[in-house]
Amino acid sequence: MDIVGEIVISEAMVTKTLPNYIKKVQGIAGCTILGDGGISLILDVNGLLTR
C-alpha cells in the first residue's frame, strides 16, 4: 500500500517540538517555521496509523 501518492516538493527543514503546554498530539511529530514565517505541522505517519 502506498502511503504517499506523490511528493510535490521536498525541502530540508529544522523540526521544532510543539510547545510543552500543548503536550503530545498523536500523529504530529512537531512543527517547522517556513521561509515566510508561517508554521507548518509535521505529520508522524507512524503515529497516525497506530492511533
Partner: protein, 164 residues
C-alpha cells in the same frame, strides 16, 4: 554588588500591585503585570488538531513557537470575529510562554492590596475557579485572574492523559 541587588529589588517593587487590564465583552479583567512579557496584535494562527476549542493553535513569535489560548472561549463565552483591537497578551509563567487572546487591552493600573477583596464564596461557574481577587477601582470592579489556574486546568490534564 549592592547596587545590582538594589536595582533588582526596585524592578520587583515597581511591578508590585500593578495589573494589566483588558476586557472581554463587558467585563474588565486584570493580570499581574509580572507575568506579562509583551502584547502583540492578532496574527496568523496555525491550528493544531485534537486540542480543546479554546486553544486556538500556535504562532511564530520571532522564531519561538508558542501556543495561543482564546480567553473568551476559555470562559465559555460566544466567539467573536477578531478585529484590529484584538490583542495577544504573551505571558510567561513557570517557564511556559503562552499567548492569551483578549478583546482589547485597556491599561496598566495600580491596585493597592487594600482595594482587592477575595471573590465571593458562592461556588458558581468559572468566577471562583479562575479569579484570585476582585479589584476595586473607583466605581468599577476588575476581575483579577489567576494565570496559573487559567493555564493548568483539569480539562487540559484529562486531554493529555487520554492521549497517552
Amino acid at each position: 554588588m549592592a547596587i545590582v541587588d538594589e536595582t533588582a529589588e526596585t524592578a520587583e517593587d515597581t511591578q508590585k500591585g500593578k495589573f494589566l487590564t483588558f476586557s472581554i465583552g463587558k467585563e474588565a479583567y486584570g493580570f499581574e503585570i509580572k507575568y506579562v512579557t509583551e502584547i502583540i496584535g492578532i496574527q496568523e494562527i496555525t491550528e493544531v488538531p485534537e486540542l480543546p476549542v479554546y486553544v486556538k493553535g500556535i504562532i511564530n513569535l520571532r522564531g519561538k513557537i508558542i501556543p495561543v489560548m482564546d480567553v473568551r472561549l476559555r470562559f465559555k463565552k460566544v466567539a467573536i470575529e477578531y478585529n484590529d483591537r484584538t490583542c495577544i497578551v504573551v505571558i510567561d509563567i513557570h517557564d511556559i510562554s503562552i499567548g492569551l487572546i483578549v478583546d482589547h487591552v485597556v491599561e496598566v493600573l495600580v491596585i493597592p492590596p487594600e482595594n482587592i477583596v477575595p471573590p465571593p464564596a458562592v461556588k458558581t461557574g468559572f468566577h471562583n475557579r479562575y479569579i484570585k481577587g476582585i479589584g476595586k477601582v473607583d466605581n468599577e470592579v476588575k476581575l483579577l485572574l489567576d494565570c496559573d489556574k487559567l493555564l493548568n486546568d483539569e480539562e487540559v490534564d484529562t486531554l493529555s492523559v487520554s492521549l497517552e
